[in-house]
């Protein structure tokens, strides 16, 4: 496991734990009491750290190198999963994945940004930054789900839509705009969950639905703290302040009524126990589908429009 700067106290405890376990094995002495003691210390330390997390540290957790990405959750949640490729126009975007999977005997269309787990894969996945083809693939799969009356779950985890030359040529803006519009009108339940980074239009491009959730250590904002720092402070050095000012954590978003709920993570973060995280996620998805499925499609769409129409704060003077 890798550790972030503020996770260092835990890293030291893990080291101790390893040493004790090894010593126990070598000497055949029962060390289980000591192991338990250190594990309890780790738990305490994790709790302590969690209670004091700054906005920037949450951003760091959302990008933790060991954090599970879309396919890691799908593999854990589904008994069967068939990945579907391509936008049927230009190519297959590896930064956006999707396909039919099943949980608790129901077929669901899963769509999500996908980051790579090692250097080669990170490049192949373009660091989770989709091109227009990715958004168009996502829309194609959503329409497929709609045709066969299957609910849609999107998993959001992107530092932004890719700002490249070909992306502009092929209409990055149009692709995202089209998704926003079409997602509003989907006749099946749509559940959107931020599992990592929720940056800007690139995130929202698969983020319009009936339920919007965020995992506890994720963020959602119009711009990344780094880019915000570079534009407003004219320097890359103010990312911590920018993160603070952007009020981008799940708790902020819930308090603004811009998301419906926060999905708790295992102590220390999703990366500490991906299995537990996947199990929690599965529960929330099933609960949301159960709530949404009985609502007639027209009514669901009406509520979806209403939901997004309410977003915004302004002053009306007479």
């Amino acid at each position: 496991m890798q550790f972030l700067d503020f996770e260092q106290p835990v890293a030291e405890l893990y080291e101790q734990l390893e040493k004790v376990k090894q010593a126990g094995e070598k000497s055949k002495v029962d060390v289980s009491a000591t192991v338990k003691e250190i594990e309890e210390k780790i738990r305490q330390k994790r709790l302590e750290i969690t209670q004091q997390l700054t906005s920037w540290q949450r951003v760091q957790l959302s990008r933790h190198p060991n954090r599970p990405y879309t396919l890691a959750y799908i593999e854990r949640m589904c008994r069967h999963f068939i990945e579907l490729h391509g936008d049927r126009k230009v190519k297959d975007d590896k930064a956006m994945v999707g396909g039919f999977g099943d949980i608790a005997n129901r077929t669901i269309m899963f769509i999500g940004h996908q980051k790579g787990v090692n250097t080669r894969m990170r490049q192949l996945r373009n660091f989770g930054m989709a091109n227009p083809e990715g958004y168009r693939k996502a829309l194609r799969l959503m329409k497929l789900a709609e045709k066969f009356n299957k609910p849609i779950v999107t998993l959001i985890d992107t530092p932004g839509a890719f700002p490249g030359l070909e992306a502009e040529e092929r209409g990055q803006a149009e692709a995202i705009a089209r998704n926003l519009y079409e997602m509003v009108l989907l006749k099946v339940p749509v559940i959107c969950i931020v599992i990592g980074e929720g940056a800007s239009g690139g995130a929202l491009g698969i983020g319009v639905g009936d339920r919007i959730y965020m995992l506890e250590n994720t963020w959602y904002s119009v711009i990344s703290p780094e880019s915000c720092s570079s534009i407003l402070w004219r320097s890359w050095d103010y990312k911590e302040q920018a993160a603070e000012q952007l009020k981008l954590t799940a708790a902020h978003m819930k308090s603004f009524h811009l998301i419906d709920d926060i999905i708790p993570e295992p102590l220390g973060g999703a990366h500490v126990n991906p299995d537990e995280m996947a199990e929690t996620l599965k529960g929330w998805i099933l609960k949301a589908i159960d709530e949404l499925e009985p609502i007639p499609p027209e009514e669901r769409i009406r509520q979806r429009i209403e939901k997004f129409s309410r977003m915004g704060v302004f002053r009306e003077v007479e």
């Binding site: 839509a161 890719f162 700002p163 490249g164 030359l165 992306a167 502009e168 040529e169 092929r170 209409g171 990055q172 803006a173 149009e174 995202i176 705009a177 089209r178 926003l180 519009y181 509003v184 009108l185 800007s200 239009g201 929202l204 491009g205 983020g207 319009v208 959602y220 904002s221 119009v222 711009i223 915000c228 534009i231 407003l232 402070w233 103010y238 302040q241 920018a242 000012q245 952007l246 009020k247 981008l248 902020h252 978003m253 603004f256 811009l258 979806r304 429009i305 997004f308 129409s309 977003m311 915004g312 704060v313 302004f314 002053r315 009306e316 003077v317 007479e318």
Partner: protein
């Protein structure tokens, strides 16, 4: 009506006297071909350079004056003002930025909505103002577009949105981001009522504005030479570490790649819009 028209007039006075005129107040230099143009002539030519066809950036008051028939228009939703919901502070507070922008422009926020007649046809125009914090989209822009849609549905009048924006407003963070979804959601209601929506993209139209309502017109059009894109050219250059080709992200580039129905010169704008209104009404 009269009061609003005066305010528009005043808007023109302010912007031309503060921005487009050199100190002597008589001449304006074209940024493209460097020709010196009599400011009075420039205004009569709808702020288009008569030598190189450069389209100067103009504000909502000027677009309303170009498009609406005289004495036949009124402002809608002029009573909606922005709020510093997050208590945002970078090197300045958002509150200060808002006050400065309001003082400089005399506007409430980065968009104004007018209802009136264009060569006799009813039209609602929502027009963005770039001078107000870069024409950025926050809650007010989203709400005024939402209400414009409601108004157009209720009165069965077509909608024209004139975009001129750097994108979403950072100081409203996720609230501004969600305006993309909000405006898209409202446009589905306009479509449901079978009321035409025309989108005119002017220089510049980028970021969250392009990636939401600007690209969703039944008719997408743009002014010549306008910069239109999702990412800004500087960001793209930094990403790909190469120079961008000539004409990249211009209106002409977008037309060529299939994202615009046509490009329209400002001097033909009113005629073209009323032609559209005529054809859609038959």
């Amino acid at each position: 009506m009269a009061k609003w028209f005066q305010r528009i007039k005043k808007g023109i006075e302010t912007s031309t006297s503060e921005k487009k005129e050199p100190p002597d107040g008589l001449w304006t230099k074209c940024p493209k071909c460097k020709k010196l143009i009599l400011t009075k002539d420039l205004r009569e030519n709808n702020f288009v350079c008569d030598k190189c066809n450069y389209h100067f950036r103009i504000n909502s008051a000027e677009y309303f004056q170009i498009l609406f028939d005289e004495d036949h228009s009124r402002e809608l939703f002029g009573n909606i003002y922005p709020v510093d919901i997050l208590g945002f502070k970078d090197i300045k507070t958002y509150e200060e930025r808002l006050q400065e922008a309001q003082k400089k422009t005399g506007l409430a926020d980065a968009i104004r909505v007018g209802a009136g007649k264009v060569n006799g046809f009813d039209l609602v125009i929502a027009c963005m103002d770039f001078d107000f914090i870069g024409g950025s989209m926050g809650s007010v822009v989203g709400e005024k577009i939402a209400r414009s849609v409601d108004y157009c549905v209720e009165h069965r009048i077509p909608l024209l949105i004139i975009s001129k924006s750097g994108g979403a407003r950072m100081m409203e963070s996720a609230f501004s981001l969600m305006q993309m979804a909000k405006t898209a959601a409202k446009l589905t209601q306009l479509a449901e009522a079978r009321i035409p929506y025309f989108s005119l993209m002017t220089d510049p139209t980028t970021g969250g504005v392009t990636a939401s309502f600007a690209m969703l017109g039944d008719i997408n059009m743009a002014e010549p030479g306008a910069l239109i894109g999702f990412a800004g050219p500087r960001v793209i250059k930094e990403t790909i570490k190469k120079d961008l080709p000539e004409g990249f992200q211009t209106a002409e580039f977008l037309l060529e790649h299939g994202f615009l129905d046509f490009i329209v010169d400002r001097k033909e704008l009113k005629t073209r819009i009323s032609e559209l209104l005529l054809l859609f009404s038959k």
